[in-house]
C-alpha cells in the first residue's frame, strides 16, 4: 500500500491505485467482465470486493463496489459489472471503458464474506442476479486445490440474464463435487420443469444441503433476495452463524 508523507512525520495510506483495463468479455447483454492490470496487487480472497472510482474532467468523482470475479492472479484483477439503469458508473464500465483506459481501485476489502480453500466442508452458494459474481470467484478458486462439495443455486429473471452460463455448465459437468441449479423468476427455457417464480424453501431443499450437513452458506444479491433466502435457510434449520450474506442494495426494476 503506497504511503504519502504528511508534515509531522505522519504517513497516510494512499488507498486508491491506478488500474488499467486490458481486456473485456461480454457476459450477457447487460453484463461484462473487465480484466484490469493493477501493478503491485497484493492478492485477494474469493468473496472480496473492490471499490472503483471514476473522475470526470471537472473533478466530479463517483465510486461503486464490485466483487472480484476470479481468484488472485498476479497483477490481473477481474470484476463483472452489471449495467444498472441510470447507473453512472456501471454504464461507463459496461459500455464505454476501452482497453488502455485507467480507473482507480481501492481494495481488496471485505474479510468476512470469503471462502478459503482451507475451509473444509460442504458449501451452499445462493446467488440472486449479479450476486453470482463473488460466488463464482469462490467456485473458480476451488480449481485443483479443494474438493469441498459445492452446490450453487442461481436465481435469474430469464435465461438471457445468466452470467457465466457456459462456464458453469462445463464445470458442473466436469466436476463431480459441483452442482449448479439455475432457477428462473420471470421466464424459463423450453422444457424447464420448475414453474417460473421466486426462490422458495422447496428450491433450497431440492438443490441445497440438508441443515444437518451444516454447510457454510453464502448468499449474495439484491437486498430483498438476501433477506428472503436467509430467512428461509434459518427456517430450514441452518445455523445463522453459518450463513454469510452480502447485500448488493436495491434490485433494479
Amino acid at each position: 500500500m503506497a504511503r504519502a508523507a504528511v508534515s509531522g512525520g505522519l504517513t497516510v495510506r494512499r488507498a486508491w491505485r491506478a488500474a488499467r483495463l486490458i481486456e473485456r468479455r461480454t457476459e450477457t447483454a447487460t453484463a461484462s467482465t473487465l480484466v484490469l492490470e493493477v501493478p503491485g496487487w497484493p492478492g485477494h480472497l474469493a468473496g472480496q470486493h473492490v471499490d472503483v472510482r471514476l473522475t470526470a474532467p471537472d473533478g466530479y468523482q463517483a465510486a461503486r463496489s464490485y466483487s472480484l470475479a476470479a481468484p488472485a492472479n498476479g497483477d490481473r484483477v477481474e470484476i463483472t459489472v452489471q449495467r444498472v439503469p441510470d447507473g453512472e458508473v456501471s454504464s461507463y464500465l459496461a459500455d464505454e471503458a476501452r482497453s488502455g483506459d485507467s480507473v482507480e481501485l481501492r481494495g481488496p476489502v471485505g474479510g468476512w464474506f470469503v471462502w478459503k480453500p482451507e475451509d473444509n466442508g460442504p458449501v451452499l452458494l445462493v446467488a440472486g442476479g449479479s450476486g453470482v459474481v463473488p460466488l463464482m470467484a469462490m467456485i473458480r478458486s476451488r480449481d485443483g486445490v479443494s474438493f469441498a462439495p459445492f452446490r450453487l443455486i442461481y436465481s435469474v429473471r430469464t435465461p438471457e440474464d445468466q452470467i457465466y452460463h457456459q462456464e458453469l455448465r462445463r464445470r458442473a459437468t466436469q466436476d463431480g463435487e459441483l452442482d449448479v441449479t439455475v432457477i428462473y423468476t420471470r421466464s424459463a427455457p423450453e422444457g424447464e420443469q420448475r414453474p417460473v417464480g421466486r426462490i422458495g424453501a422447496d428450491d433450497l431443499v431440492s438443490h441445497g444441503w440438508p441443515a444437518d450437513v451444516e454447510p457454510a452458506c453464502y448468499v449474495c444479491g439484491p437486498t430483498a433476495f438476501v433477506e428472503a433466502v436467509s430467512d428461509l435457510l434459518v427456517a430450514l434449520g441452518h445455523d445463522p452463524a453459518k450463513i454469510k450474506t452480502e447485500r448488493f442494495g436495491p434490485s433494479g426494476p
Partner: protein, 199 residues
C-alpha cells in the same frame, strides 16, 4: 486528486443559472436515509415545541390539520448534489406554530421519530421560510419521503428538512444535529455551497 477517467462525464452538469453551485437537476426524487422508515399512526402522532425554559407546546394530528395551511412551490437542493425545481407542498408554516411561543432562544434543534436531529438558527424557521409539510405533489406525503409530516426548509440544504419531524427544541446555543456532528455544515446555505464544516 484522482486520475481522470477518459470518457466519464458524470451527471450532466446543467449550467442552469437557477441552480446553486455544484448541483444538477434530477427528474426523480431520491430517497436517502440514515435508518429504517418510522411508521407513526396518526392517532399517536404529536408535534412538540419546547422552549429554552422547558415550556412545551404540543399539537396532535387533528390539531395540526385544524391550523391554517399553505400550498407552496419551492426549489429543493440536496447536499448530495441533486436539485428539484418547483416542488409542490402543503403544510403549516412554522410562523403559525411558533406564534404563541415565548422564547428568547436563537437556535433550534429539530427532532424526528427514529432519532434524527438537525440544527439551524431559529430565524431560519420564521418569516415564511419553513413549514411542517404533510403533502407533496398533491398527495399525502409518503413515508419514505418523511410522511406523515416532515420539516421543510427549502432555503437550506435538504438534510435540514427533517423527515418524520416530531418537534423543535429551542436553545440558546447551537447544538449540532445528526449529520452536523459528523462533518456537515451547521448552517447549510446551498448558494454559498456550505456543505461541510469549515466551508
Amino acid at each position: 486528486m484522482g486520475i481522470f477517467t477518459r470518457g466519464f462525464g458524470g451527471r450532466r452538469r446543467d449550467s442552469n443559472q437557477q441552480l446553486p453551485p455544484g448541483q444538477y437537476l434530477t427528474r426523480d426524487f431520491p430517497v436517502l436515509s440514515a435508518g429504517p422508515t418510522p411508521r407513526i399512526p396518526l392517532d399517536a402522532w404529536e408535534f412538540t415545541v419546547t422552549t429554552e425554559l422547558g415550556e412545551s407546546h404540543q399539537w396532535s394530528w387533528t390539531e395540526l390539520m385544524a391550523l391554517p395551511a399553505e400550498s407552496i412551490t419551492v426549489d429543493i437542493h440536496c447536499v448530495t448534489r441533486w436539485s428539484k425545481l418547483g416542488t409542490a407542498w402543503r403544510g403549516v408554516s412554522l410562523e403559525t406554530l411558533l406564534a404563541d411561543v415565548e422564547t428568547g432562544a436563537d437556535f433550534a434543534l429539530a427532532h424526528s421519530y427514529g432519532g434524527y436531529t438537525t440544527n439551524l438558527p431559529l430565524e431560519d424557521l420564521l418569516d415564511g421560510k419553513a413549514w411542517v409539510a404533510y403533502a407533496y405533489d398533491g398527495e399525502e406525503l409518503a413515508p419514505e419521503h418523511g410522511g406523515p409530516a416532515r420539516l421543510l426548509v427549502p432555503h437550506l440544504y435538504f438534510w435540514k428538512s427533517a423527515k418524520w419531524v416530531r418537534g423543535i427544541e429551542l436553545m440558546n446555543q447551537d447544538s449540532p444535529g445528526f449529520w452536523e456532528q459528523l462533518g456537515y455544515h451547521d448552517y447549510g446555505d446551498p448558494w454559498r455551497e456550505q456543505r461541510y464544516q469549515g466551508d
